[in-house]
Amino acid sequence: MARSKNPNGIQGNVTMKIIPGLRKNRVQDVRSAAKQDVEYSSQWKLIYKRFKKHKLARISMIVLGLLYFGAIFAQFIAPYSLESYDSKYVNAPPMTIRFVDADGKFHIQPFVYGLKSARDPETMRKIFQSDPEVRYKLQLFVKAEPYKFLGLFKTDIHLFGVEQPGRLFMFGTDSMGRDLFSRIILGSQISLSIPLVGVGISFVLGILIGGVSGYFGGWLDSFIQRIIEIIRSFPTIPLWMALSAAIPPRIPVVTMYFYIVIILALIGWTDLARVVRGKFFSLKNEDYVLAAKISGVSDSKIIVRHLLPGFLSYLIVATTLAIPAMILGETTMSFLGLGIRSPATSWGVLLQEAQKIENVSLYPWKLIPLGSVIVAVMAFNFMGDGLRDAADPYKR
């Protein structure tokens, strides 16, 4: 973890290894502002400062911020709604937003060419070509299909769109003529929120069960650990298939949503429980816990004040790193048809079209949702790494 210049500061890991005795010394009369900061900061501030230095993690945080921003304002940002389709434009390729037209003239207002369809003489397949004759200007804050923003209020304003009767297919369309870009953005609402809710449940379950296991030890601990091992040894996909088959066929989207969250969370809590248990075990025997006991502090206060903060940072890291697994889990389930059903959509559902080889080879833009999954997973991973690096070196 040693970087060329020691960015971890005076208490950093590398310096500690070089001069073990240095740990004992701290500046009494502060000689520089940097040191003053360090002394006043609580644990969290120190972790935050270290995290900020991790470039990849910072970028990932920004990326995730954008993704979630997009998910919250999805209906506003997407030019089309989930239901809209146009059988005229089935499997249309992505359109380019241009500033310079075929004649070489520059336009300030971007535009797209029209789409004209033709039949390939050999295969009889419908193919689309852009028609430079027709130009549709891109507009901001257009009126299009109405929607309920976050279920709160009705409106019909979208961030951008194209003047009628033009179409704007930035990522192309699917086999029903639905705009892929809109569906990816709208699908992100499900794909990005299920992991958060799922991880939230895992978090609570993990702390409770792991805490009980770690604090009390003994046969209770052994028992719980065996159960965890049994759960972890189930192959996930068949398990999901079985659980999903148990879900009744026609239920409202919201209920479906929660079923999926619960299925994912029920498997996911085991990791967190083990982290919590491990931490409890190691912290239980620290001197300061014993000191608190001798001072007369009650058990519950010890857990909350002394033990819990000790591994909160680990928990946050473990939680952040558990999210990618949930993203992939939901995507996989939906991809296999076990998860989200229409009219809702998620990235996994969008990728169902990619199951057919013809889609992948003839209409490769249908794989774009894969890119969004990869970006989201990698961003969470990098951020989790950054958090772990920031939180870890504090441990002596």
Partner: protein, 345 residues
């Protein structure tokens, strides 16, 4: 103490203006700031100081085993008395990963550490690891190497050598591991043994055994010893010369007899007064040194001990860096209280 040491014309090891700096968040930390000392053949030099004084870094710089974050400058001149006479090499000029330093490490200069458990790999038997050093430096013949190793084990007082040879580090007690480490260090008959806090982690009765062992081995092998410790009692028992370090500098240096009977630097005096003694008056109030050791980061030129010194002179001690003054033959002090006098009192 050693048998009458013959003084060759050049000291075995000369450290000149050794500086070690490390980049930290607040600036540059001068962990070692201009250290000079000499070690003569067959003699024992003690390097004494509290945590953060830089003694460990100094001793490791000789073997070039400090991490790469340490920016080292200065000269460490090593004059081997074997082979070509008076041929000196500057150890700091050698590539820390190169062949030349590796030929010296373990063979001419070897080192023992404070925590013997981490000095041995848990994966191989003790005998195997000691033999490794022998095979590198002394002979390629495995049988011969084994015989040498067994002999060394017995020399350090480990009985039942055949059985112990096959055992692993965790099967040895702390004291035995330290002995094994000593035998490994001496297996190639080095000229200089660097011992970095060799007994700090041991029980006091075991410490006595190990110190006794080191003394007798020095009699037998005739090597010089650089003994790094914080314990003045060990210095008094084991060393001929002593250098007192504080905040990266040597503040006082001289023979053990001289320093203990006539300490000049306020830090040395404070250190001696704050040590509780076994003999002496009970319930005398220990004199302590106020304050604690600061970090040597971004320090302006001044005496590092200024803030804690009971005899500090404002305007003098905190304005410039302190020169080294020779009080008497071999006894030097780095203190403004003595800079006017050239010859001792």
């Amino acid at each position: 103490m050693t048998q009458a040491a013959t003084r060759s014309d050049k000291p075995l090891l000369s450290v000149k203006d050794l500086k070690i700096q490390i980049q930290v968040d607040g600036g540059v930390m001068k962990a070692v700031d201009g250290v000079d000392f000499e070690i003569r053949k067959g003699r024992t030099l003690g390097l004494v100081g509290e945590s953060g004084c830089g003694k460990s870094l100094t001793s490791r710089a000789i073997m070039a085993i400090n991490p790469k974050e340490c920016e080292t400058s200065g000269q460490i001149e090593y004059v081997s008395t074997e082979g070509k006479p008076n041929q000196s090499v500057d150890l700091l000029s050698l590539n820390p990963r190169g062949k030349e330093i590796r030929a010296i490490r373990g063979r001419k200069i070897s080192m023992i550490f404070q925590e013997p458990m981490t000095a041995f790999s848990p994966m191989y038997s003790i005998g195997n690891q000691i033999m490794e050093a022998v095979l590198i430096h002394r002979t390629k013949n495995k049988k011969e190497a084994r015989a040498i190793t067994l002999d060394m084990l017995s020399k350090v007082g480990i009985s039942d050598q055949e059985k112990r040879f096959e055992q692993f580090p965790h099967e040895f007690s702390g004291g035995m591991r330290q002995r094994a480490m000593i035998s490994m260090a001496l297996s190639c008959n080095p000229e200089l043994l660097i011992a970095d806090e060799p007994t700090t982690a041991l029980d006091v009765t075991i410490q006595a055994q190990v110190l006794e062992l080191m003394k007798s081995l020095q009699q037998e092998f005739g090597m010089a010893i650089l003994l790094v410790t914080h314990d003045l009692g060990i210095i008094a028992e084991m060393c001929d010369e002593v250098a007192v370090m504080y905040l990266g500098k040597i503040v006082e240096q001289g023979t053990v007899k001289e320093i203990f009977s006539n300490p000049k630097h306020p830090y040395t005096r404070g250190l001696m007064r704050s040590m509780p003694r076994l003999g002496g008056n009970k319930s005398e109030r220990l004199e302590s040194i106020e304050g604690s050791v600061p970090l040597p980061v971004n320090m302006p030129p001044m005496c590092g001990f200024y803030d804690r010194c009971p005899e500090r002179i404002e305007g003098v001690c905190n304005k410039r860096s302190v020169p080294n003054t020779e009080i008497s033959d071999g006894h030097t002090v780095r203190c403004f209280l003595y800079t006017d006098r050239e010859e001792g009192e």
